[in-house]
Chain length 387, copies 2
């Protein structure tokens, strides 16, 4: 077990009607709020009106910036920074999913910083302060409602970069599972793909003696696997929506990383895909992660066998653990297909023509990953396995 630090300071307010307290929570951080949101679904289902009225009840001044797209971009982030400075905004309220929250985080760190906010994403500068951030979550997926991270795409060169500092964790996050009743099957399953891979990026490690973290991770995986099957059959089933929503936060508040280093290679490999092709992150992950597994599992067959046994109840044959390991990967792939996710790049119209370009961009800062260090050729091989 590695030494670690852990802190989950975001105040979670979870349950039916939780969004009613947004004004009260926001008010603690000042008077003027930037209300940041996406492309309209919050207006469609009445959430926008509820949030506005709760903020107004507390006498808050509201500045609005909507229109955040999936795979959020640097341009609107810079617009948000300028707006916050002009209107002397005290806090940002992100109402939406991971894209909106990530965009809000980037705005938050940009406001007090004299340089170009992209500096934080290239590693040129370190984040020391941020505007406080509150969240009303509408899509369980990215875990950004509890995480310290932000992922932004720079339209100049289509670089998609992730970064994070502890101060960037939201001050509060409001999670009402009822707000996810209207998510389509596709939105639900790509969210679940993201949640599951957040666990798996940390689970596949060569670190020994991380039993509690392993078992907590397996608990989260089993819960999500069970409940997404219910949610796609019964979109308005509160319990399964609640299990998925809470699992999404537990998966990414760093608890499941304690005692070991995460890998993140598959996320980086996927980021190149969604930067160029603008596909959903969770969709790309459903394709890339199993390909990564097949490419690397031999480095720690016992761990992949543990995954097969504990998560998928695969029978263990101690004289052939490789067979067990492969059966676990197959179970995972079958599950992804069962819930309707694509299994291969070609199914989502991505072909061989730009694989070299993506592999090259993905490794231009050096090898990626922790479980196995991946060079250009490895990443290219994984893209090819995923075709």
């Amino acid at each position: 077990m590695k030494n670690f630090k852990f802190q989950a300071p975001t105040k979670i307010i979870f349950g039916k009607g939780a969004e009613d307290s947004v004004g009260k929570e926001a008010k603690k951080f000042g008077k003027t709020v930037l209300l940041h949101y996406g492309t309209g679904s919050i207006k469609q289902y009445g959430l926008y009106d509820k949030v506005i009225s709760s903020l107004k009840e507390e006498g808050m001044e509201i500045v609005e910036l909507g229109g955040v797209l999936p795979n959020p971009r640097l341009g609107p982030v810079k617009e948000g920074i300028a707006l916050c400075r002009e209107k002397k905004v005290d806090l940002i309220l992100a109402v939406g999913g991971g894209s909106v929250i990530d965009s809000a985080k980037a705005i938050g760190i940009g406001v007090p910083y004299a340089g170009d906010v992209w500096d934080f994403f290239t590693g040129k500068s370190k984040v020391k302060e941020t505007l406080p951030l509150g969240v009303v979550l509408t899509i369980p997926a990215a875990g950004s409602e509890v995480s310290a991270d932000s992922v932004i795409t720079n339209e100049e060169g289509w670089y998609k970069k992730a970064m994070g500092f502890e101060v960037m964790r939201p001050k509060f996050s409001i999670l009402n599972p009822e707000l996810t009743f209207t998510l389509s099957k596709k939105q639900t399953t790509i969210g679940v793909s993201d949640i599951i891979t957040h666990v798996l990026e940390r689970y596949f490690t060569r670190e020994k003696n991380v039993e509690l973290t392993d078992r907590l991770s397996e608990a989260t995986l089993k819960t999500v696997i069970n409940n997404v099957r219910i949610s796609i059959q019964k979109p308005q089933d509160y319990s399964s929506r609640a299990e998925i929503m809470w699992s999404g936060s537990v998966a990414h508040n760093s608890l499941l990383e304690t005692g070991r280093a995460a890998d993140w290679a598959s996320h980086l490999i996927e980021h190149e895909l969604s930067a160029i092709y603008d596909i959903a992150h969770g969709e790309g992950l459903a394709i890339i992660f199993p390909a990564w597994m097949k490419y690397v599992y031999k480095l720690n067959i016992e761990r992949f066998a543990q995954f097969a046994s504990r998560v998928w109840n695969v029978n263990v044959y101690f004289n052939d653990l490789e067979k067990v390991a492969l059966e676990g990967i197959k179970n995972f792939e079958d599950f992804l297909k069962e819930i309707g996710l694509p299994a291969r790049l070609e199914q989502i119209d991505i072909h061989a023509d730009r694989l070299e370009e993506m592999a090259s961009k993905c490794t231009e800062g050096g090898p990626i990953g922790e479980f196995m260090k991946l060079e250009y050729q490895d990443v290219l091989n994984i893209y090819k396995l995923a075709l």
Copy 2:
């Protein structure tokens, strides 16, 4: 699943040598620190010297108050409050186990309060502020290093009372498993008894649809059960000590309570025992908890069967779930005996003579418990089952 709030703001610094950063962490909260500790073992093994030198390196002023006893008492708490006021202490550093931390919490809330600190324990006043608290943990057991709670015994009438407010969570807690290498078998196992019952007090619920919380709880239980068996054989085995230490915090930072109400009846029933007989809390719990289980399991046989199946791998007979449930309780009792804990009150020289008095004190504020509301006669029955 019930609506809930969750926040785990305590900064955990976990691992080998973690105590070296105590000065740096403490310094963030001011210049003058009250160093609060127990009856000497921290001096015996060199931890005291390490802490003093780390604090001095940061130029801090140190005020000392040692001598905290197990089942910490109100008298020394009041002494600590007076001392903090006199020396203008900025923060309290608790170096020890649950008793020391609970005592430090009580001092912390007493300092800025004009009335009698016992008011908080009787419910007469609510905690609004506290001196900041840091912890160097030496015994994994109480979970007080992350919790919002304190348990203090008032020598006047030997009332042992628990209370808690969110502001009371420590600002930082330093957890080095190496500091637990010198714990005796008895200290180790009574700590584990406390950890396990912290999970079980939340696990046995009649709330439906708490799958993630259930599975996280089972993960924690299995980890502790596996690793205490290793620790008592090999007291200097880092990994098993680390698993137990981290499990102790996860068990009690409120994560395993999300979505349901905890019971706490067994803790209250035990508090009466340890207030009068001054036995170790974990020892009393090892006796009381199984007695409570036998008294209440019929209210939710399915849940006790789940415990049997998932935690103890008991075979499930669907035509006789009661048999499964009882086998789970038996497995738990056998495990407690196996690690050397007492199974009956008479083994620790507690006899029938004061059971009525304890049952009466325990229920004088009304019925206790959540899974089953227990009146005077119920509590008495449980004491009798435990004899």
